[in-house]
């Protein structure tokens, strides 16, 4: 992970191509050189502006409007009605919202930290394994990583199936006394894992951790490979324990990688939709909604209420932007320095 970009851009080369005008053949194009980067950006900017930024502004507007079928249908369209903060007072007054908020936050915290812990542990393990073994494990976790979210949901829904699921079969294998001691029961046949909000989220966490730890592991492994072996050698000579080595050498050196991985995981886990959609079979159990699901259900189940759906989406976006603002600032700082 050597950084060539800082050299090629700005700093290392004080005369970027934009200024090398003298002596350039005119055949480059008939356009002034300063305009080239802007021209190159036009298509991308158009797409981002039209499909991301402008819609974001619209969400903020719709959140204060009443928008239902009569306002969106193509025939005999009615104008959207301005309702002020009514959408917000309505969702804040509903316990579904607070459940969804709690589910979203608790899930993100647990899933992100578990993914990071498991992923890092596996990354460290991969670094220690022999070549053959580590290749085998990498190929294995690559499979888990590659499974599309919808299929992830399907697979774990099946594993946790009440009747024919393999989890209940495995739990029944436990000796009765052990099972009774740990869980207070011995018979697991027909245990409905996808019924209660808490157990749906337990399955969801397992699903998400299963599918996302490989990325962390492989990234950590890549980072570890970049740490000079002498450092570890020195630590070994000093007789440092494995944990101490990790804390004093590995972690500080990988800190930037961890920062990125954490933020990426947060972004991904805050808005988990596909897996949850499959696990609970669409927006069926309203106690188990997260904010994405609640927004979707409000806006697209009949009768559609785009206004309150947008209000929920806006809350989710604000939370996400606040949580990731620190990271954005840091990156921008780096960018300015380079």
């Amino acid at each position: 992970m050597t950084d060539t970009s800082t050299l090629t851009r700005g700093g290392g080369n004080p005369s970027p191509s934009g200024r090398r005008r003298p002596g350039r053949p005119a055949k480059a194009s008939g356009l002034p050189v300063w305009s080239i980067p802007y021209l190159l950006l036009v298509p991308g900017l158009l797409v981002i502006g039209a499909l991301l930024l402008y819609p974001m502004v619209q969400v903020a507007i719709i959140a204060f409007q009443k928008v239902g079928l009569p306002q969106i249908r193509p025939v005999n369209t009615k104008p959207a009605e301005w309702v002020g903060v009514e959408n917000f007072t309505q969702i804040f007054g509903n316990e579904i919202f607070w459940n969804a908020l709690r589910n979203t936050v608790v899930f993100a915290v647990l899933a992100v930290s578990l993914t990071l812990v498991v992923g890092t542990a596996v990354g460290v393990l991969l670094n220690k394994l022999g070549k053959k073994m580590s290749t085998l494990v990498i190929v294995g976790i690559m499979f888990a990583w590659a499974v599309p979210p919808v299929a992830q949901g399907i697979i774990w829904k099946w594993l946790f199936d009440a009747e024919a699921g393999i989890i209940n079969w495995a739990l029944n294998l436990l000796p009765d006394w052990l099972s009774t001691l740990v869980f207070g029961r011995a018979d697991w046949t027909g245990e409905p894992w996808l019924n209660d909000a808490w157990s749906i989220y337990m399955v969801l966490i397992i699903t998400v951790v299963w599918a996302s730890f490989p990325f962390i592991a492989v990234s950590v492994l890549a980072g570890l490979k970049g740490i000079p072996a002498e450092l570890y050698e020195a630590a070994r000579v000093d007789g440092a324990s494995a944990w101490l080595t990790f804390r004093k050498i590995t972690f500080p050196l990988l800190r930037p990688v961890f920062a990125v991985l954490t933020v990426l995981s947060i972004i991904w886990d805050f808005k988990v939709f596909s897996q949850l959609y499959v696990l609970m079979g669409g927006p069926s159990n309203r106690e188990a909604y997260n904010l994405s699901m609640y927004s979707y259900a409000e806006a697209f189940r009949s009768p559609p209420k785009m206004g309150s759906g947008a209000a929920i989406a806006l809350v989710l976006t604000v939370i996400l932007l606040v949580v990731t603002a620190v990271y954005v600032r840091q990156l921008v700082k780096q960018e300015d320095m380079s």
Binding site: G68, L69, P70, I72, R73, P74, V75, N76, A162, E163, T189, G190, E191, P192, N195, D196, G281, S284, N285, R286, E287, A297, F300, R301, S302, P303, P304
Partner: protein, 437 residues
């Protein structure tokens, strides 16, 4: 809507002619007026949405109906099947995107909602004349709004308990006459057939209120009544509470497994076909599907119906269900769509729709004939006492989207709330939803 009004007059004449042709039946297809005008809609294509899944019987009926229409008019009809649980999403998307069909089947309790969203075209002229004029006016309650009719009743459906007659015979169980006998029968089935079998299946899915409603109405309860222009929730009344307790007890007493709190009739039906359910509330339209799902093992005298018994004997009240056929508000081929509805809901194809699909015909003579059939008698009996859900466009939101009562039942079953707490909360929520403007 405006398009519909402008064309209404021109259509009426055409529809009448065609209606007559349909009346004549298959024997006399060469009605002079129809023949003279030739294939009226040749080159046009209609999209027709049918609801449910395409079991062979329903498929056959639809094919025949479509063939008849195509032959008469030269139009092409494209049929698309929409599973019941997806109907609302599909309608919503269609209404929003302007991509709807020309003609659609529709549940009668959904007509107020989609009329309020202006998704249906008024077809008052169709029910005012021809065969359709014979349809009793009391069956048009949900379909007629402010003097205009938006859908034609196609088949009625009341529900009864479908049970495994072969198991009843094996285990020497008598047909239950009271609720307690039904509970005892369910327990006996579970005892002998395995505890993963639901003695009487709990329905907590999108159509949960068909079961809960029957129990609650029988207990003397109501969901809500309109006082002035406001709905007042009645969920906390003792009558409703009795029915609700009966409903949740299906799970808390273990008659139905806790693992399937959100199963709907379709899912129950599949389990029934796989020998995992002893009894459940439904109607005979489930029979072809069961035959198919069980690979032909479950049919004939292995299954039968009995009317849902009330708590202290007598028959419970059933939901006045029914399917209608309607013209979509933004139909591209409005004239052809209306003619299609006219043909499909006429006496020949209307009665055939009901009898082939396991529904009750909406034409009085045909219905009278049906009550003489012992297999259909439970439905005819239930039909007489049938009741409907609050006739309000917002009912669908309470019934399916917010699943107010399914949620209340879940709270009680999982021990998170007492019956009174859960119903109290549900009542407030129901009132809020129904009274939205």
């Amino acid at each position: 809507m405006r398009i519909a009004k402008i064309t209404a007059t021109t259509v009426t004449t055409a529809a009448l002619a065609l209606g007559l042709a349909a009346c004549g039946g298959a024997e006399a297809p060469a009605e002079p007026s129809a023949a003279a005008s030739g294939p009226k809609y040749s080159g046009k294509e209609l999209t027709f949405w049918r609801l449910g899944d395409s079991n062979p019987a329903a498929q056959k009926y639809t094919d025949e109906l479509v063939a008849a229409f195509e032959q008469q008019t030269g139009a092409k009809v494209k049929v698309e099947w929409i599973p019941w649980p997806q109907v609302n999403d599909k309608f919503t998307a269609a209404a929003a995107g302007g991509t709807g069909p020309d003609v659609t089947e529709i549940g009668n309790d959904q007509v107020p909602l989609w009329q309020s969203q202006e998704a249906l075209a008024p077809i008052t002229d169709i029910v005012a004349a021809g065969d359709q004029a014979e349809i009793p006016k009391n069956l048009l309650g949900l379909e007629t709004i402010d003097g205009e009719t938006y859908a034609v009743p196609w088949g009625g459906g009341s529900r009864a308990v479908l049970y495994r007659a072969d198991w009843f015979k094996d285990l020497k169980i008598e047909i239950p006459k009271t609720w307690d006998e039904l509970v005892a029968a369910a327990k006996k089935i579970q005892e002998k057939k395995g505890k993963d079998v639901d003695g009487f299946a709990f329905n907590g899915g999108s159509d949960a209120n068909h079961l809960l409603g029957s129990l609650a109405w029988t207990g003397g309860g109501e969901y809500a009544v309109k006082e002035g222009d406001k709905w007042v929730g009645k969920l906390t009344d003792p009558g409703f509470k009795t029915g609700f307790e009966q409903y949740t007890a299906l799970v808390t007493d273990g008659l139905s497994s806790k693992s399937r709190l959100s199963q709907n009739t379709t899912e129950i039906r599949t389990r029934f076909a796989n020998n995992k359910v002893g009894m459940y509330l439904t109607a005979s339209w489930d029979l072809p599907g069961i035959d198919e799902d069980s690979k032909g093992k479950l049919k004939g005298d292995k299954l039968a119906f009995f009317p849902l018994p009330a708590k202290d004997g007598g028959e419970a009240q059933s939901f006045l269900g029914g399917n209608d056929i309607a013209v979509w508000g933004t139909a591209k081929e409005m004239d052809a769509a209306k003619d299609f509805v006219k043909l499909a809901s006429g006496k020949e194809w209307g009665v055939k729709y009901a009898t082939d699909g396991g529904l009750l015909p909406v034409y009085p003579e045909a219905l009278a004939k049906l009550s003489e059939d012992p297999a259909q008698a439970p439905f005819a009996a239930a039909f007489a006492k049938a009741k409907a859900f609050p006739a309000d466009p917002n009912w669908t939101e309470a019934n399916e989207t917010k699943a107010v009562l399914q949620n209340a039942a879940r709270q009680v079953i999982e021990g998170k709330a007492t019956v009174d707490e859960a119903l109290g909360k549900a009542n407030t929520e129901l009132e809020n939803i129904l009274n939205q403007s």
